[in-house]
Amino acid sequence: MLEKSIVEEVLGLALSSGGDFSEIFAEDRRTNNITLESGRVEKSLSGRDFGVGVRVFKGFTSTYTYTTDSSREGLLKAARNAAEAMSGSPSVRPQPFAAEPISPLHAIRWYPTQVAKSDKVGVMKQAYEIAKNYHAAIQQVMVYYFDEEQNVFIANSEGKWIEDQRVRSRLMIHSTATDGHKVESGSYGPGAHKGFEFMKHLDLRHYAGEASRIAVTMLGAAPCPSGKFPVVIDNEFGGVIFHEACGHGLEATSVAKHNSVFSDRIGEKVAPDLVTYIDDGTLQNEWGSITIDDEGEKTRRNVLIEQGILKGYLIDRFNSRRMGMAPTGSSRRQSYRFAPTSRMTNTFIAPGESTPEEILGSTEYGIYAKYMGGGQVNTTTGDYNFAVKEGYLIENGKIGAPIKGATLIGNGPKTLQLVDMIGNNLAHGAGMCGSLSGSIPVNVGQPMLRVSEMTVGGTKGDE
């Protein structure tokens, strides 16, 4: 993507004021976004992102500059700007490059740029028809299509020279249902680190049907009661709870400065024995998977919590300095516009032994959260919140009436201690995660599980 002599020059200049490590990240990305509304293509947008970022470390100081000007002058200017925050004379010389061939972990069969846009629209229309015809109450269906081919190049002053390609596809179905008075919505957004083969093999009947089923079900839902209840969270995207309550708090971003509720606790018992929590960027072709991270490190399976014991964190190169621990292949960024930092890939709770029937059956009264929406956490206090998209009451061990408007709030470390049953039906769901280095694709996952008590904020008031 860039010439060797220029890369050498840039990495050298970046170290000219005493920096001890320099890195260059270049990106060339093609994207397509198509929107189908009421069965018609309303918007279709294609683009090419192209930019370069230069990063320099000196001890615990890190500087980053990025530019869309990839000419020699543009890159040298970026390197000078990155060096400018430091003062001193050069102490480190860039090492000769040792190009690393990579064996892609996630094979791509059908590149999105090779597929006619009208074929992509064909998939969207099928999804539309299924969702629209699901029920007479469906008022409107929007279908969003997204694909990208991202080519990255990473080189650093320690001799790294590596290239990678990430290809991703995602379909989002958003249904709106009305009974003439109320309006409710439902959505589903499967995605993968795959090309158009993903769309071709996607079970549209399931995903588009589910989006409409949720919307229609919510029309008949009663306001959620408020209070403290046992909560059974279903598998797949339900894993967002531990993504928020726990995953973010294990990222070096907050751990390194001792600001996280999980800082300095390796080896401590932070959860019941039945909880094992894993981040694994190598899962074949999953939405959150990568072959190498955005610093050029191979991704791996990182066991974060094993049978309740805190085993590790997600660590990037810069924070590894503060922490004195090795990087974990977890450094990610939205694009060249962000310095990379420790982030999740595919994070999930490992399966347990209970069947879903056992979990529900042993819950006398509580909330069953079938589909979760997004959430948020304050990693310093551990306080989190997230929304239930489709919820039900559990009465006498049986799924009862649907409820709406539930938000679950709580404290990550405390909630973790209250997990008392874990199912055997692990599944993963695709999402976008926003944090310091931008918005990135991640999977969240878990089997069905139960938390013995959570605070549920609903519109119905006190029970």
Partner: protein, 452 residues
């Protein structure tokens, strides 16, 4: 290749390719950002990026494509992709390229004083703030964030119908998050300020406000979960309105995503409610003389004494509703297509100060922080259930901070149940999609409150 010769070549090549009318939207953004941690520069970031959005009418339909690589090899990429995009569009309302408004304001929203503030002065400000925060109180244990970002943005719209518009904007954002600990409780407090006036930033005031925001939450207790009168402090009132501001967009009423469809002329809120969009505020961070498709901007009264007077329109939505564009065509950047969004949209302030509103409350809850706005709010139905922090009030006095809670209700009901509007107008931090949203503190009759 510079952007002028690129534009020229692209328009020439586009004509040969078969495009009727074409437009280029060019943006150049420069930023500087810095974060301090324990008196050291922890992060230091600068950037200069630019990109071009191309759109053109091919066989009667509009196609879009963008690139960040301003080079020869991007020209066929743009022309071919925009053509393929035009060919799959099935929208009934044909978009067209705009030949321009009759006249444009010549107001400037660029502060050359701000542009001249040195990096050293910006770093010194952060160092001062961090030092003052750490010294403010023994319970302060550190900062999560002590950072700023200054940015400068240039926009150009150039089309084959002769339109050629340019403007320049700049602003500085300060973001501070303080950690305090006492008796086993850990709390954080946030301070965000976005301004064009560097000299209005006084380290003592900022440090005090940021630290107090965190300290005032210590000793939080639970209260009974039920419905309470709620005072939404100005920044949180603005955050809630920002989340629901898409309901004022005609694009959303037309697609059935806003319940304000067919409500122009009807009462949608309490008589105390007045909402304005003013794109020409001298200090407005989202101020502009022309919108995302080159339409001249002007002040718009959206709600007057509770009555909805107008929605926000671009040229396409206006045509559909048989009205005029209000100058609210929006492009989040050169990567976005034309949508509808506010510029500086705000609830007009009334008479009472924040303190007067507090003392007017017999019993209730003040909301000083909201979380989960991206997930706990349904902009279609108006329902929301959000994580919140704040204080419990009795007999006009703040009694104590409340444990993490949720507040739940419906945005459309909130508009009707506004009992009092404060005088303390404050703008929230804009996002690429939302524009700048402002509000004074709002006293709401009641919301459902659940406490941990």
């Amino acid at each position: 290749m510079n952007v002028e010769s690129f534009s020229h070549k692209l328009l020439e090549a586009g004509k040969r390719f078969g495009y009727a009318d074409m437009e280029l939207y060019y943006e150049r953004v420069k930023t500087f950002g810095c974060q301090i941690f324990q008196s050291e520069i922890d992060k230091y970031e600068s950037s200069e990026v630019s990109g071009v959005s191309f759109r053109g009418v091919f066989e009667g339909k509009m196609g879009y494509a963008f690139t960040e690589k301003i080079a020869e090899d991007s020209i066929p990429f743009l022309l071919e992709n925009a053509k393929e995009n035009a060919q799959i569009i099935e929208d009934e309302e044909a978009e067209d390229i705009f030949s321009g408004s009759e006249r444009y304001r010549e107001q400037t929203y660029y502060s050359s004083e701000l542009q001249q503030v040195s990096i050293q002065d910006q770093v010194r400000l952060l160092l001062d703030i961090e030092r003052l925060i750490l010294a403010y109180d023994a319970r302060v244990t550190g900062t999560n964030r002590c950072m700023l970002e200054s940015s400068e943005k240039e926009r150009t719209i150039l089309n084959s119908k002769g339109l050629d518009l340019k403007d320049l904007q700049n602003s500085l954002t300060l973001y501070i998050s303080v950690i305090v600990k006492s008796e086993g409780q850990t709390k954080t407090g946030t301070y965000i300020k976005i301004t064009k006036d560097f000299h209005s930033l006084h380290p003592e005031d900022i440090a005090r406000q940021a630290a107090e925001e965190a300290l005032r939450q210590l000793g939080s207790r639970s209260i009974r979960s039920r419905a309470y009168p709620v005072l939404l402090r100005n920044d949180m009132a603005a955050a809630l309105i920002q989340t629901f501001s898409p309901v004022f967009s005609a694009e959303n009423t037309q697609r059935g995503h806003s319940l304000l469809r067919d409500k122009v002329g009807a009462s949608i809120g309490a008589s105390a409610l007045n909402i304005v969009d003013d794109p020409n505020l001298p200090d407005g961070v989202c101020s502009r003389n022309f919108d995302g498709e080159g339409f001249a901007t002007q002040r718009l009264q959206i709600v007057e004494n509770g009555t909805l007077l107008s929605l926000l329109h671009n040229r396409k939505t206006a045509k559909k509703d048989n009205t005029e564009s209000t100058g609210h065509a929006h492009k989040s950047s050169y990567k976005g297509s034309v949508t509808v969004a506010p510029s500086n949209l705000y609830v007009e302030p009334a008479d009472k100060s924040y303190e007067e509103l507090v003392s007017s409350m017999d019993e209730g809850v003040i909301i000083t922080h909201l979380a989960g706005l991206h997930s706990g709010a349904n902009t279609i139905s108006g329902n929301f259930s959000l994580a919140a922090r704040g204080y419990y009030v009795e007999k006009g006095q703040i009694q104590f901070p409340v444990n993490q809670m949720t507040i739940a209700g419906n945005f459309y009901d909130v508009l009707h149940s506004i009992q009092d509007v404060g005088s303390d107008l404050e703008f929230s931090h804009p996002t690429a999609a939302s524009g700048c949203i402002g509000s004074p503190s709002l006293l709401i009759k009641e919301l459902s409150v659940t406490v941990e």
